[in-house]
């Protein structure tokens, strides 16, 4: 019974959380650790909301056991000590998690360039026979970290493939680097996530993650 319930809930949750741009239906290490952070924070938030709402409701029931408290209980402990502890723990957790996600130098990184335009993306990367340029489709190898060097040709855009990693802005005059990685081969939906004017709603692109053979073929210039 309990097992059935668990399976149904998981299915519901997974079903409800899937989608081409879902941040919870993860397919890369960065997105996965952020999703973990989210579920942990959600649980914490649920507990805290429950605590506050219970205290609030109890204020309206008149029972002999309910005693008034002074400032040290309400403010010192509940108002200051508890949130400070929770927040510092959360902060430390999030910062260390962030350290794992950022584009720190590691061996074996593939580098590609992405340039945001109103309203398309140009991608450029080294191939076996000179640079390969693609528009609105980014090819990457699966299972390897990829650094996307992000530029803008006009206004601010933001490079975002929610199932793989967080977003990073494309800012004219600045170079930003985002680390992405796909756990398995496949197609992943991406889009710009910074408002850029009239064509913004349709400012989308795709990321195709290749297995080793396809990747080799792609780099030779052949479209797999």
């Amino acid at each position: 019974m309990l097992y059935r319930l668990r399976v149904t809930i998981t299915a519901l949750a997974v079903g409800g959380c899937s989608g081409p741009l879902s941040t919870l239906d993860t397919a890369g290490p960065a997105a996965a650790s952020i999703a973990t952070l989210w579920w942990a924070m959600l649980a914490g938030a649920a507990v805290l909301t429950f605590l506050v709402m219970t205290l609030l409701a109890l204020a309206f029931v008149r029972r002999p056991w309910r005693r008034a408290g002074g400032t040290s209980l309400w403010i010192g402990w509940l108002g200051v000590a508890m949130p400070t502890t929770i927040l510092i723990a959360l902060l430390g957790f999030a910062l260390t998690l962030g350290e794992r996600i950022i584009a720190r130098p590691v061996p074996g990184v593939v580098t590609v360039e992405a340039t945001g335009h109103q309203w398309y993306w140009d991608f450029r990367q080294p191939g076996a026979n000179g640079a390969i340029e693609t528009r609105d489709v980014l090819h990457i190898p699966a299972g390897r970290p990829v650094d996307v060097r992000i530029f803008s040709a006009d206004v601010i855009h933001s490079f975002w493939v929610p199932r793989l990693a967080g977003k990073m802005d494309a800012i004219p005059g600045h170079l930003n680097v985002l680390r992405i990685e796909a756990d398995w081969p496949g197609e992943f939906e991406g889009r710009s996530a910074e408002f850029s004017g009239a064509g913004y709603a349709g400012h989308r692109f795709r990321v195709i993650a290749h297995d080793e053979a396809d990747w080799a073929a792609f780099q030779l210039g052949g479209r797999p």
Partner: protein, 103 residues
């Protein structure tokens, strides 16, 4: 004015320290301090951590100083804000120790 300054001395120090850390971070990354190695660590980290520690000590000093204000509402308020300021310096500056530089 003096009143406002006394009741917010600790917080003013935090504001100053916070801006200082952020500014040093900007200068440091721009000036390549993270590529200079000194005494087994990078110059950037040494600068950031030592400034942070100094700021924390200054925060403690403000707490100490506030005790000389005549007792009353003003001192209690000043004391609270000195505590908050010092704690805030400790917490908001803490990333200098664990996060990587200029990435």
């Amino acid at each position: 004015m003096m009143f406002l300054a006394r009741i917010s001395a600790g917080l003013l120090l935090w504001a100053f320290g916070f801006s200082l850390l952020y500014a040093l971070h900007g200068f440091g990354c721009e000036g390549g301090w993270h590529e200079i190695r000194i005494a087994g660590g990078m110059l950037f980290r040494w600068v950031m951590v030592s400034v942070w520690v100094l700021l924390c000590i200054a925060g403690l000093a403000v707490i100490w100083w506030i005790r000389s204000v005549p007792a009353g509402f003003e001192r209690r308020l000043g004391f609270a804000s000195a505590l908050v300021g010092c704690a805030a310096t400790v917490v908001t500056g803490a990333p200098v120790t664990i996060t990587s530089a200029c990435v």
